[in-house]
Amino acid sequence: MLDPTRQLIDQILLEIAIASFAAGTLVLLGYLLTRTLAFKRLGSVLAVLGGVTAFAELGTRWWMTGIWPLTNLYGSLSLFAAMGVLIFCVFAFKYDLWFAGSGVLAIAAIALAYGTDWNEGYMPAVPALQSYWIKIHVPLVISAYATFMVAFAIAILYIIKDTIERNYGSRTVRARAAGLGVDVSLAQPAASAFVTTEFGIKRVDTPNLEAAAARGDSLALWLMGLPSLSKLDILTYRIVAVGLPLLSIGIITGAMWAKEAWGAYWQWDPKETAALASWIVYALYMHLHTRNGWRGIRCAWINVAGFASIVFCYLGVNIWISGLHSYKV
């Protein structure tokens, strides 16, 4: 029988975490749209509060049951939400990424709330999970998933800004073409503008948005308030550079555990191979990012594909495909 006081504390912490994430989503969405500093400050407080209470709730669950909480999907989704917000906050404080906070907190809120659906009660771990590796392997892979989630949020912002920039560019082309009486299909896309600064020659990556903002276009003005496309691209790269080693070490520790539990470090279990497929996607991303022509929008889309593979690996395999990792009650 679980201690009712601890159960109450657990419930309160869970509700605070979900509420903080949900409120933080709205507040940081307000910051994204209006750039009001008060929203940013409040949003950062809510993000930190939500993250801290989410971790505290996990700790309370462990304290309450004596069972390591990461033995099922409820526990891992809780950690995913908490780690996602923690990793986001680290990057946000370092690189001022709060404009992306609404997306991250929304995903965290949904993950945590969805995770409660998988709360079947407190069950001791099956023999295969009774290992010290569960305290190493599971947090590592969940941390990797959470990191890729943050990278995905930044990549989405990149795609939005780039798409609107291209849209403004094609409008400019069509307007010029109409003025010249020229068939649009023959018109060339606007050339990228370069400016010379005191530190070199820099490509202006959103010349059409800049021109529109100069004319007072409100959408362009808002988008110009986001970091430049090159900065968004670099941020995404830096975040993936954290996630890929985490995923690598997570896969390796999983293999070490599999050797002890199942007799072989690799058995082509759906979870193992889905994780490998995700690793391949992000390895492709890192390789292609070394090429000038592939940095930017193409790598952003690869990031989106990578996160889709992570979602499939994390949830799709656990829920839809049976295998050695299916510990669903």
Partner: protein, 459 residues
Amino acid sequence: MTTIAAEKPGKGNAVRGTVADLLNLLSDFWFGMLLLAIWGVMTIIGVIVDQQKDPTVYFTSYPAPLARLVLRLHLDNIYHSPAYVGMIGLIVSTMTFATFRSVIPRRMPALRPVKIDVMPLHAFVSIPGDEPSVRERIAAYFASHGWTIRKREFGGDEWTFVDKHNWARRGVLVAHVGFIVIAIGTTMYWARGYSGTTAIISGDSATIPQNGTTIKLNSFGYRIDPIRTKAGTTYQPIDYVSQVTVTPKDGKPYDAVIRVNHPLDVNGTLYYQSTYGFAIAFTLTKDGKPLPVSPAQPLREGEAFQVDGTHAIQYAQFIGTIDRKTGGAGTDPRPNDPGVVINAFEGDQLLGRSMIPLGSSLDLGDGYRLAANRYVLYSGFQYRHDPGIPIVGIGAFVLVAGLCISFYFLPARLYVRTAAEPDGTVRVGIAATTVKGYDIYEERFAELVNALRRTPAPA
């Protein structure tokens, strides 16, 4: 007049040309990326398509054309298919050739002068003083901040090449080497390793054919607890333990315990607790007399015995607790009120299926009765000898080290050239390149230039 002798097209030249083309292909970055993408797609296919199932399963699960496609393309065992293995081999090959033929040369550029004013990252700084002393001050500044300084003269002009984290340019090489070492380790298992399974009934022993080790199962214990969940009561396995006596080939017997997550190591072969089950002792009688066809040993699930030339009885399933209300299987897997389900066959044709409570018998007609007498626990073990594991472990460590070096260190090179100005200052031109493009270094370059501008003038 110089006569140029035409080169005769010979077999040797054609072969050399083909080899050169092949090496160029294997070194090509885009070819490698294509292979990586195909490998990813093949891996995903293996996740989505059930692997290593009976062909009938695919016809049941998928539309017939898709099932035929799966079987024809060997997608039912894709990870062990020649295409998949060959793909990994190709990736390892391209990785090797690309690393040495193109990655390293690109990442270790020769010291050459550049046109500073056309480099994306460049700046000009005016520093008072004479040229030699300004050069020395700049070199001293960079050296004091951990940069490596090298000076070269080109066409009478002295250039200073300033590098940081030059060693980290080899990070990609390290990561690729790690991958190759992993591949070698896994190949060692295929070449020299072995694995298998064995199930031993309590009190019995089994000898592992590959190494001659004998394992006697003294006893098997398990624990299953009822747990109240929101969905109702569920029965959770808590522990499985096998108490064994191990006799290595040419060795002395000793007692040991095998449990999940605690494999037993016998001379480099690991034995794992894999499964367990209930073996049943059956007796077939006719008119009350036991028949010689009755199995001499208890049967495990799935095993069958022949009654006569065409008829067979199969032990299909163990029921831990019979639901006396429905007469079927209860939810409790513990043998509180056990029974067994048997299938009767005539040839391949299933004649019927029935459940026999343990300790009772089933009338088969014509005076035949089948008794399910008692159960005996058996323990299922997996064993594996993999000499490649240490190699795989080293490879994994090297791979991760290579990733960290590649991702977290930014090798940068500065090209510095000085020119004396008429006003007594020295114009210092600086250009920067990195292995990860220019954008990523923009802010740091600006800080560096500003720091140089603040360098105090000579007294």
